[in-house]
């Protein structure tokens, strides 16, 4: 594959980096989103509803393009001369927004699945609401949400490939460039597939281990 091994390795690094950052930030967005959806303030509920409805209703690829070109236009207007946003950060931002929307729904459902009595028991001994969240709600929510989060993470890993369209040098980009220049597209696409498959397999395995450990007390 003539020197492309090293490029693939760097592409792999980029893919993992983008997924890890978007996933982490997306989890935080999801927590905030779920808290907003379950809040007693109507405005927060409406904002969160609008967010998840819009983001889940638009193809991921379009979200990326909108963020990239929208970001570039905004930055250009702001600075006064043409500035292009970085593909990496536009990608991270887009995938965070997407991941966050789905995570919001997952977390909301998981929190609602926790019986009301769990919170009441915590309040009844005098725990503050934030302590109740930390000690009682979040640990139980995590257990319930884990399988769905695993699926979401797998989707995220694969969705990073969409960012290659705005020029991110991830696995996908290396494969496309290699396929175009070396007259042997199949090999490059197979190699890329193998890398994605490896990432998703490792993820699935890790989730299964975590799940087994976390759910142990409940069985």
């Amino acid at each position: 594959m003539g020197g492309f091994q090293e490029q693939f390795l760097r592409g792999l690094e980029t893919t993992v980096l983008v997924a890890a950052i978007s996933g982490t930030l997306g989890m935080l967005v999801g927590l905030a989103g779920a808290a907003a959806k379950l809040s007693r303030f109507r405005v927060l509920r409406m904002i969160a509803d609008a967010y998840t409805t819009i983001v889940r209703g638009v193809p991921e690829l379009l979200v990326i393009l909108l963020v990239y070109f929208g970001g570039t236009a905004a930055l250009t207007a702001l600075v006064g001369s043409y500035v292009e946003v970085s593909a990496l950060w536009a990608g991270v931002f887009s995938l965070t927004v997407v991941f966050g929307a789905y995570a919001t729904e997952i977390f909301r459902g998981a929190i609602q699945a926790i019986p009301r009595g769990q919170t009441e028991a915590a309040l009844s001994i005098g725990l503050a609401p934030w302590q109740t969240w930390l000690l009682v709600i979040l640990p139980q929510m995590a257990r319930i949400a884990l399988p769905a989060l695993c699926n979401l993470w797998i989707s995220l890993l694969k969705d990073t490939s969409l960012i290659s369209i705005v020029g991110l040098s991830d696995i996908m980009r290396v494969a496309v460039v290699g396929a175009g220049s070396m007259r042997d597209p199949l090999t490059f696409y197979l190699a890329a597939s193998a890398l994605y498959l490896m990432l998703t397999s490792v993820s699935l395995l890790t989730f299964r281990l975590v799940e087994r450990r976390m759910l142990a007390p409940l069985h």
Binding site: P115, G117, Q118, E120, A121, A122, L123, S124, I125, G126, L127, A128, Q131, L135, V136, P139, Q140, R143, P217, L218, H219
Partner: protein
């Protein structure tokens, strides 16, 4: 018919001279949805009293108990903890009644142990952890001191050897005894029980009732919602019979249960007549 308030002022505050109630509800009203569940309830628990609250399903017993520790906030009326009035903000427009002073509510709740019908143990924590959370995070004890305290109360309810079990691996009766230990570990002033044996198989109610009886014999102040009539008669210093969101009748168990004055209580005690 006398109103609940009349009965109360004869029998309650004035009859007891200057003594301050540990916990007192005064003319409490509460509507849930569109249903007026409590319609002017007054009830006081004096130190070392065991009060059993009886009444048909839907008469408002749980709601009353939940109003006492502000899990439900009364629409009107007062809740007093010793000589302190709880800060309650009445409903305004669409918004329901709410707690005015969150800090006070937390402090008072920590002094009112509550035991629920469905136990409500935290499934991701062991028996011991269920009992130590309060002492650590509310009372500020060190882990070590809290563990020691929790072990004492688990021993007291006869479950010290189950300290590292998760709720899932305990029987209903054992779970409820852990829940009682969890409440006791806060060293509360008053214990509130909401039908503590109603979700237990008959063969498991005995162990929980024995635990509660032991607490009554220690002289703890308790309010107990129960359907166990003979148990109520045995442990209570006073019983209150609720009907339609009011306390219909209240007094010493032998009097009230043997010679019920109201038609409602007569029907409740003997559905056949």
């Amino acid at each position: 018919m006398q109103t609940a308030i009349d009965i109360h002022s004869e029998d309650g505050r004035h009859g007891r001279g200057a003594a301050t109630a540990s916990l007192r509800a005064e003319n409490v009203h509460k509507t849930l949805g569109t249903h007026p569940v409590l319609r002017g309830v007054s009830l006081a628990a004096y130190p070392h009293e065991v009060i059993s609250v009886l009444g048909a399903s839907g008469s408002g017993k749980s709601t009353l108990l939940r109003c006492l520790n502000l899990l439900e906030v009364p629409d009107s009326g007062e809740i007093w903890f010793r000589d302190e009035k709880l800060d309650i903000r009445p409903p305004i427009g669409q918004n329901g009644a709410r707690i005015g002073d969150a800090r006070q509510a937390r402090r008072v709740r920590a002094s009112l142990g509550m035991v629920f019908q469905s136990f409500n143990l935290w499934p991701h924590k062991t028996a011991l952890e269920n009992v130590t959370e309060g002492p650590v995070h509310v009372r500020g004890l060190t882990r070590r001191a809290a563990t020691e305290r929790a072990e004492n109360y688990l021993r007291k309810v006869g479950l010290i050897e189950r300290r590292d079990h998760y709720p899932r691996h305990l029987s209903g009766g054992q779970q409820q005894r852990v829940a009682i230990a969890r409440a006791l570990a806060m060293e509360p002033e008053v214990l509130l029980f909401d039908e503590p044996t109603s979700s237990l198989d008959p063969e498991l109610t005995g162990e929980v009732l024995r635990t509660i009886r032991a607490l009554a014999e220690e002289g703890r102040t308790m309010i107990l919602v129960t359907h166990e009539l003979s148990f109520a008669r045995e442990v209570s210093s006073r019983v209150a019979f609720m009907q339609g969101g009011r306390i219909e009748e209240e007094g010493p168990p032998d009097e009230v249960l043997s010679r019920p004055a109201s038609a409602g209580l007569r029907r409740f005690l003997d559905p056949a007549c």
